[in-house]
């Protein structure tokens, strides 16, 4: 069984993170679409921190002898997922950035050509 202290500490940490995320959303510094994965992470950690039986069950299932380690593994996995998600977001942004730069350059050229045409 998970030591009670570990459960309390983990629950507090997850709760704090949850509060910070919600505050970030509230103050519009974090968009909901990018907060969802974080919220899910918090909730899952919180659930397994409080529901100690489930954590032991989960640890036993994948062969982890010390149940609190399962909590770490779970957290690490979610962080990986969040990071991967960010990589896709960055790729998407850089793609849009490229398209935008190209469009601006072509429009600028067109504008200069039109201005020149009018001046002549």
């Amino acid at each position: 069984m998970t030591p009670l202290r570990v459960s309390i500490a983990a629950a507090l940490a997850a709760g704090l993170l949850l509060f910070v995320i919600i505050e970030l959303i509230r103050s519009r510094r974090l968009q909901e679409r990018y907060a969802l994965l974080w919220l899910l992470t918090c909730v899952v950690i919180l659930v397994f921190a409080v529901w100690r039986g489930a954590l032991s069950e989960l640890a036993g299932l994948v062969g982890i002898a010390y149940p609190p380690s399962a909590l770490f593994v779970l957290a690490a996995f979610f962080i990986l997922v969040v990071l991967l998600h960010y990589s896709t977001v960055i790729s998407d942004l850089s793609e849009r950035n490229l398209t935008l730069a190209q469009r601006i350059a072509l429009l600028e050229q067109q504008l200069r050509a039109l201005q020149k045409e009018r001046a002549d």
């Binding site: 490229l98 730069a101 190209q102 350059a105 072509l106 600028e108 050229q109 050509a113």
Partner: protein, 259 residues
């Protein structure tokens, strides 16, 4: 499609060949800090074929590249910041698409590509034998000397690309290319970002464009230095190999005909 080297090696008769001038054609010259050589490239293209409209895509140069190109009479498209060769070239293809060009050639602003070879490059396009032609350094008469490491890399890519497109390709890294309207439409919409040459060839073939290599002579670069240093070369190899590998698992619909 046969590999038409022997036929293409023949001198091209200029007189009486109406079809060669019928196409509305664009020369795309990507340039990054080529102030010293870009005007000469423009002049040379003009001298070879005055029907070419020339667009210089200035990829965020910090010198007078754009001014030099404009003085030489080219259309200048200035990117707001450096996009890399792929993004710059694609901008040229977008210009070609937006202005209804029927043929576009890609020719470097550093003087490495010889404009006098242009006609040889575009001939298969004009005659409807290919959608994309690539000027190759290795099938030609004059031997192009490149550093050992690079030559190994090119060989490797040549092997991989040849296997992927099921045809012999000798110089997949060459940036001296010509495309018809289908190629323009494809590349304007989808073009690899950095180190685009190898990938774009495969992309075109996977989209059922007919690609043809044309032997051309290339020169040592007039100014500037290769963008590919040893460290970047290794990154280049790995990045392009990854892209090629992934492309095996993508679907490439054939381009639909234009309305």
């Amino acid at each position: 499609m046969a590999f038409l080297v022997a036929e293409l090696a023949q001198p091209i008769a200029r007189s009486g060949d109406q079809s060669l001038t019928a196409y509305k054609r664009l020369a795309i010259v990507p340039a990054l800090n080529e102030e010293a050589s870009v005007a000469a490239v423009i002049d040379e293209i003009r001298r070879v074929d005055q029907d070419f409209e020339i667009v210089v895509v200035d990829d965020g140069s910090t010198d007078g590249t754009a001014e030099a190109a404009a003085r030489a009479g080219a259309v200048v498209v200035r990117l707001p910041y450096n996009l890399g060769i792929g993004g710059a070239v694609q901008t040229g293809y977008q210009y070609a698409r937006d202005h209804g060009f029927e043929l576009a050639v890609q020719i470097d602003g550093d003087g490495q590509h010889d404009p006098s070879e242009l006609e040889r490059l575009i001939r298969p396009i004009v005659e409807g034998e290919a959608d994309l032609t690539v000027g190759t350094r290795f099938a030609g008469a004059r031997l192009y000397r490149s550093p050992f490491g690079r030559r190994i890399g090119i060989r490797l890519f040549a092997g991989v690309v040849s296997a992927m497109v099921r045809r012999r390709v000798t110089d997949p890294t060459s940036g001296f290319r010509a495309v018809n309207r289908r190629g323009i439409r494809l590349f304007a919409a989808d073009y690899p970002h950095d180190f685009p040459e190898v990938e774009s060839s495969v992309l075109a073939v996977r989209h059922r464009l007919r690609m043809l290599e044309v032997p051309v002579a290339m020169r040592e670069r007039a100014t500037g230095r290769s963008s590919i240093t040893t460290g970047r070369g290794i990154y280049y190899m790995i990045k392009v190999m990854l892209a090629l590998f992934i492309s095996l698992f993508r679907r490439y619909p054939p381009l639909e005909e234009e309305r």
